[in-house]
């Protein structure tokens, strides 16, 4: 029993509840509370890694926690294995820096922003660590409801429209997942992941197909894959840039974790193979990927381009995951890591660059490279990584994805990905060239609030540069992350290990 698992969820939750409580009494205490609990949460993650380092290296790492001391399947269990550890580290790492970025970008006068940010942190950890299917549904709805006000944060017309669409699509997706939970309880009488996984093969193929399809539709609506992607570009672009980085970079990856956990460990991938659903998923994901690239080419607004690029990369990740070979799963998880770093870096740099422009369109970006050459060079480096140029980490992950497709004989998919990369080259070059044009006559720069306070500008540029450098360094030393990812892949391919350590650990 490891208390650190429940503390990973309770620390941001308690902070989010304490912020309005403390705010009534004193203002500085609230600022100190935000900084303090960020550090506590991050060090909890580091503590788990350091104290279990031996077991991580041996690939026998797991932790469980029985809530309320009820044994499964009666109660709810929290569990962490290599896959959850991988995603939990990604979440803590990126949220630590996004909180610091938000302190510079948004400032401190909006207290409720930090309440919602910490609730999102707690919800994401709740999803990654849970071992119970209805608990997963509750925390997915929590993630939806706490990220929607942040989409509408700017309180202009665009943001409100985006938030309404986001809420409608997200709620309907949650309803489909709830129907899946209903069917699982009706047929199996239990709600625990390990118990479902153990008894799932006693059902007939017909029932398994129905349950799998409801979960599939629900999670695809929430992720934004092809027939249900109409909300994503507006929602990820109508919010302030720190929230765009959070939505496009981190929250989408948590949905990828739900997809992997449900369809490999709980339902079992052989169900998808027997019913032919994995071919449907592959086709839909590839269509989604190519549509994302094409729509990004047509766009004139930089944040909407980046949002469409998220749809494209997400389609690529799902497509390569359905191949179910060791190389394919490795490539998929590596691209999860790579895309998170690159997308967060692009959005944080864009947030700073857009302070100098009157609008978000391409023509407004003229001459923006000369305002701060360092941040713009970082933007260029990371854009190169998204296209797939070495030595950034985007090159390594795309290389492995292409290799996974080619070894399985799917050369059409490889061709689609290469075409997508060419499109990405075109639409990133558009913005970079406009950035380098000299402004002859232009409107005076509207200095936003962020640039008048010195420390805020420093914080924002430092975080943007830090992520760009992280993309570069992790690209050069990418072999280092292979160890943990291979451990995660072993967990995915081995559902009996998952059943054993929860039900008897």
């Amino acid at each position: 029993m490891s208390i650190a698992l429940i503390l990973l969820i309770i620390v941001p939750l308690a902070t989010a509840i304490l912020i309005p409580f403390v705010d009534v009494f004193s203002n500085t205490a609230r600022k100190l509370l935000v900084g303090f609990s960020t550090l506590v949460e991050f060090s909890l993650g580091m503590f788990i890694i350091v104290s279990n380092f031996r077991k991580i290296m041996d690939n026998t790492f797991y932790l469980t926690y029985y809530l309320g001391e009820w044994i499964p399947p009666i109660g709810i269990t929290l569990s962490m294995d290599m896959l959850s550890l991988f995603f939990s580290t990604l979440i803590s790492f990126s949220l630590l820096f996004l909180v610091i970025y938000s302190i510079g970008f948004i400032g401190h006068h909006e207290g409720k922003y930090y309440v919602l940010l910490f609730l999102i942190w707690a919800a994401m950890h709740g999803i990654v660590l849970t071992g119970d299917i209805f608990n997963l549904d509750v925390f997915l709805e929590l993630l939806l409801i706490t990220s929607a006000p942040l989409v509408a944060f700017k309180r202009n017309r665009n943001g409100t429209e985006a938030a309404i669409k986001y809420m409608f699509y997200g709620t309907i997706g949650g309803l489909f997942i709830f129907i899946g939970v209903v069917l699982v309880y009706y047929n199996l009488g239990t709600l625990n992941f390990a118990d479902i996984s153990q008894n799932f093969n006693t059902l007939s193929l017909f029932v398994r197909k129905i349950i799998a399809s409801f979960f599939l539709i629900g999670i695809f609506i929430k992720m934004g894959i092809f027939p249900f992607h109409f909300w994503l570009s507006k929602a990820h672009s109508a919010c302030p840039s720190s929230i765009s980085a959070l939505l496009s970079g981190v929250i989408v990856k948590v949905y990828v974790y739900v997809f992997i956990r449900l369809f490999w460990n709980v339902i079992g991938f052989d169900v998808l193979v027997e019913t032919g659903l994995d071919h449907i998923i592959l086709v839909v994901a590839l269509i989604s990927s190519i549509i994302g690239h094409i729509m990004a080419l047509y766009e004139n607004d930089i944040k909407r381009t980046l949002a469409y690029s998220t749809i494209a990369n997400l389609g690529m990740i799902i497509a390569v995951l359905t191949l179910n070979t060791k190389l394919a799963l490795l490539a998929g998880l590596l691209h999860v890591l790579a895309h998170l770093l690159m997308k967060v870096s692009l959005f944080t740099a864009t947030g700073y660059i857009l302070q100098f422009t009157p609008g978000h369109k391409r023509e407004d970006l003229k001459g923006v490279a000369y305002k701060n050459m360092l941040v713009f060079v970082g933007f260029i480096i990371v854009a190169g990584g998204m296209i797939g140029l070495p030595p950034m980490i985007g090159f390594a992950s795309k290389w492995y994805v292409l290799k996974a497709f080619m070894t399985d004989g799917l050369s059409l998919a490889a061709v689609i990905i290469i075409i997508g990369s060419i499109f990405a080259f075109v639409y990133y070059i558009k913005y970079i060239i406009t950035g380098f044009k000299k402004m002859t006559l232009g409107p005076p720069d509207k200095f936003r609030l962020i640039l008048t306070v010195f420390y805020r500008e420093r914080v924002v540029t430092d975080i943007a540069l830090f992520f760009a450098i992280a993309v570069l360094i992790s690209g050069i030393f990418f072999k280092v992350v292979f160890g943990p990812i291979e451990g995660a892949v072993e967990v995915i391919q081995n559902p009996s290990f998952y059943i054993d350590y929860i039900l008897s650990g």
Binding site: F134, E161, K165, F168, L175, V181, F230
Partner: protein, 112 residues
């Protein structure tokens, strides 16, 4: 048999309201109708004899209705209520900008 029929009809009625109606508040009502249909279906298919799951001395343990779906549905009702409250807030905000509640001004549900 009759449970499934009622569920499918009410669920699709709610879905029809979301797709077709020209008023955002009616779309929220459609969402609530869909949720209500799922809750009704869940209770009616796990029915086991019809005695309420509260012990008061005259119960037979195998004939008590299943308490687990009731707990799950209570949670689901609260989630649905918070979602509707927040959606209505967003509609109030939108109304301040455009003075109408027509979903065509936000491009409908299937456009960008």
């Amino acid at each position: 048999m009759i449970n499934n029929l009622v569920f499918v009809i009410v669920f699709l009625l709610g879905f029809y309201a979301i797709l077709v109606k020209k008023n955002l508040i009616k779309m929220v009502i459609g969402l609530n109708i869909m949720e209500g249909a799922i809750f009704y279906w869940f209770i009616s298919i796990t029915d086991r004899g019809g005695m309420i799951p509260i012990v008061n001395g005259t119960q037979v343990a195998s004939q008590m209705n299943d308490p687990v779906p009731q707990a799950l549905i209570l949670t689901g009702i609260v989630i649905g209520a918070s979602t509707s409250a927040f959606l209505l807030t967003l509609i109030i905000e939108l109304n301040k900008f455009t003075n109408s509640t027509n979903p065509d001004q936000i491009g409908g549900m299937i456009e960008d």
